[in-house]
Each structure stands twice: as C-alpha cells, then as structure tokens.
Symmetry: C2
Subunit: 270 residues, 2 copies
C-alpha cells in the first residue's frame, strides 16, 4: 500500500515512521513546501522518496499541513482515487469552507485530528510512538464514503491510536477547552514573565509553560479558526477566575480551599 | 551537628534525606503534628528519632510546616539557641506578623523558601535531590544575625541548592508571577474541565494541569497570604489576555502570531 505524506513535519514524519515500523506500508512518499523538511525525512529514512506531486496510485494521502492550508489541499486532491485525511486541530471551519465553495466534502476525504504532539517540530522530532494510546478523532460529514471512514480508521489504529468518531462541532468545542484555551492562557501568562523571573522558577513553572513554546504561525491559525468555541471557553474560564478573585479579595480561606479541592478533583479520571 | 525537622512532609523529609546522604548530620530528629508522618519518616530511615519537642541542643531547626503555622513556631522557638529557618512559599506576611506582635524577628531566625517541589507529598515522596540545582531564597531582616544567615546558607548549599538573598517583598512579588499565578490560573481553568473532556486530552493538557493537583489546604493559605502581589500579577495577566482577545475578535492573524511569538521568547533564558 502506497502512502503519500503531504507535509513532513512532526506529525507527517511521525505518521510515516509509525506506518513503516508497524508494517502498514513499505512505500511512503513525501512532499513538503519546505523542501528541506522532505529532504530530511528522506535522509532519516522516514520516507522512501520525495515527490513533487501526490502520485495517483497512492492508496492513502495524509495532509499533515498547517490548518489554514488543509482546505486547499483537499480541493486540489478532490478527485484523487485514494482516501484523503488530515491532522488539523480545528475541524468545522475547514469543512464549512469546503462546503461553502463546493457544496459538499469530497466523499473520500475524512477530516481527522490525532490528539498528539510534542515539544519538538520538524522531521527530526519524528516519533514512531507519537500516536500510541492517543485518540485520533474522525469527524466525517454525512456525505463521506463509509468505506473511506473504515480505511482511515484502520490507518490510525495501525499507528497505535484509538480512532473515534465525533461531529466536527463537538470536536471543536472540546478541543477549545482541552487544548486551545490552555495554550491561550499560557501565551497570555508568558507575556508577563520577564527575564529576571526565570532564575526563580521551579518544576511547576516548567510544566505550566511547556506549551508556550508551540509554533506561533500554526497556533495563530488554530486560535483564529476556532475563535468561536474558544471565546466561549474563555468566557467560562473568566467566570471561574472571578470566583477565585472574590475569595481572594475577601481573604476567604475556606472558599479558596473548597475551590482548589474541586479543581483538583477534575483531574480524577474515575 | 544535630538537626531538628519540624514537619516531616515532602519538604522536611527531603531535607532530612539530603542532609544525611550528603553528610551534613548523623543526628536528625523529627516531629510532626501528624504523628503518622513522623513515624513514616522514622520507618523510612529519613530521621533518627521522633521527638515531642525541639531539643535544646539542635544546632539547626527547619520549620517545614504550612505557611500559616510558621509564625507561631518561630515565636515558640524564639529563644532556641540553634538557627531557625523555614521553607514557606510566602515571606513578607510571616515576617510582618512576627514584627507586629513582637517588634522584631528573633535574630537567629532566617526566613527561607527553597523553590522546589514535586507532585508527591508526605515523607513517602522524600527526594534527596529535591533541592539540587534549585534556588533557596533567604529573606533576612536587618536585625537577623549575620552568622545565622551564613549557617543557613551553608545548610541549603549543603543539600545542593543555590542560596540567594533577596528582600521578602521582592520574593513575594516574583513568586506571585512564577508560581502563585500559574497555580491560580490552573485551578480556575480546571473548574471548567468536565469528566467528558478528559479522554480528549494530549500531553500538553497533562503538563499544563499538573500543578492543579497541589494540596488544597497549603495552597489556600499561600494564595491568601500573598494576595496583594498575586492580585497585581493577575491584573497584569488580564491586560495581556485582553490583547489576545482583541486579536481573536478581530480575526487578526498577524497580531496573534506576533503575540504568540513574543510569548515564546519569554521562555528563552539567554
């Protein structure tokens, strides 16, 4: 089975590495707008060949490009005979953009988002276990070919992920809370951190700010594209913050302890 | 050199473990309001003896108790011949409380804060390397005995920390930004996380929320005691958050990218 990887950064290269090591494909081609990325992926043995265009005979095409480039790639490959799937962190705006112009999604395009990442970027950071045990969300439309859904689900399972279907709207609302809001809060927090603060930090600071190093151009698009659900999540956060502020202003130890206790319980998965 | 540890939780027990393994003391006694903590520390070989009161002959006494109990312990041991030092995350309110009642600090009490911690708690979580390479801040008052400062500095260096002097006000302002605000933001964030969100999280969520599991009663006191500097840091954060909100509301990709880029640069230590 020939797989084409469009975008050989962290996600694309990790998928290629996992697909190869798990025996999904022995023929993986890659292309990247940044020629150096594709060349590095080749040199590292993550892909078998660098190509200029997606070959017709690819059975599966992963669009591992930044979110604002996904819709264009889907349009460009609308008639490709293979299954087409992406890895974008925002789903509804991409789908709406395609529907607004073309009336419907190409039936063999399955919108996806593997909830996996790392501090690294580029093919050098490729990790064959990046998707292991992580969730890969599929948000197909009513017009999506069920066979394409099955194929893409099998691909994600093949690289170790838990494939799960959900609506694009649910995905975007959930990710606004679980990923986009934490990034936004960390970015805004870091805006107030000065060089003189850094020597006086502990492990908690390092953990809390780790996502602050995320790629600015990718994240500017993610936050912007999902600004509806993100703005809602932010408003809810500000209400909660207000409760802490009132307890602080009142010096209300009992209220603070109750709020912190309730917060910690949210982390319990059972 | 006999060392007494008042409070054999994570910090006290880690200090005991480090002091022993680095040869600072072969005679470490411990006491704890929670009898089980002290018994566990003894069973684990972290202390040599459980005592009911701080022995007169202890050359150094570490007050590793929650912040709201430190001032009382300092008063109780004001005439103790050894050096007295604490590990509280907030400094000025403790010092002010002592000065308000007693006019001055006991000269052999050195207010301290090792900027170190872990997800664990209690003596079972003791880590002899907890302080290695971490900063131990000393915030002595003008009346503090210089010899006591030297002794306490040597103790922190002895357990691997970088000892550094600073004013209590500077400490509290800095820690409001580097530690207390991140905890507050995480607690308020978690208030909006529902059980249904947890399956859809990645490593970024785990990092961002790790400090949300901090002990509620300790943190209620830390936030409350440092509420002045914390409220200032929070107001500054909200200004920064407002800039992101405006960029989001305007769908201004360039502004978002510039803000995120500037945020990421704050993490660069050079």
């Amino acid at each position: 089975m020939k797989i084409a990887i469009v975008g050989t950064g962290l996600i694309g290269a990790s998928f290629a590495k996992a697909a190869r090591s798990r025996g999904l494909s022995s023929d993986i081609v890659g292309l990247d707008a940044e020629a150096e990325h594709a060349a590095t992926a080749l040199r590292l043995g993550l892909i078998d060949r660098v190509v200029d265009a997606v070959p017709k005979e690819a059975a599966a095409v992963l669009l591992a490009v930044p979110v604002d480039g996904i819709a264009d790639w889907v349009r460009r490959l609308a008639d490709h005979p293979g299954v087409l799937f992406d890895a974008g962190s925002v789903k509804a705006p991409i789908i709406e953009s395609l529907k607004a112009r073309d009336g419907a999604l190409p039936p063999r395009y399955v919108p996806c988002h593997p909830i996996a990442g790392s501090e690294g970027s580029g093919p050098e950071a490729a990790d064959g276990d990046l998707f292991t045990g992580r969730e890969a969300v599929l948000t197909p439309a009513p017009e999506t070919d069920p066979e394409a859904i099955d194929q893409v689900r099998a691909l994600w399972r093949g690289v170790g992920a838990d494939a799960r279907l959900m609506t694009a709207a649910d995905h975007d609302r959930i990710l606004a809370v679980t990923s986009h809001l934490p990034h936004l809060l960390t970015f805004a927090y870091l805006d107030r951190v000065e060089a003189g603060h850094l020597p006086h930090t502990g492990g908690g600071f390092d953990d809390f700010t780790r996502i602050g190093a995320a790629a600015p151009s990718l994240w500017a698009d993610i936050l912007r594209l999902n600004r509806g659900p993100l703005t809602e999540a932010l408003a809810a956060f500000k209400d909660s913050l207000g409760r802490f502020e009132r307890a602080l202003a009142n010096g209300d130890r009992a209220a603070l302890q109750a709020l912190i206790t309730a917060a910690g319980r949210r982390l319990t998965r059972d």
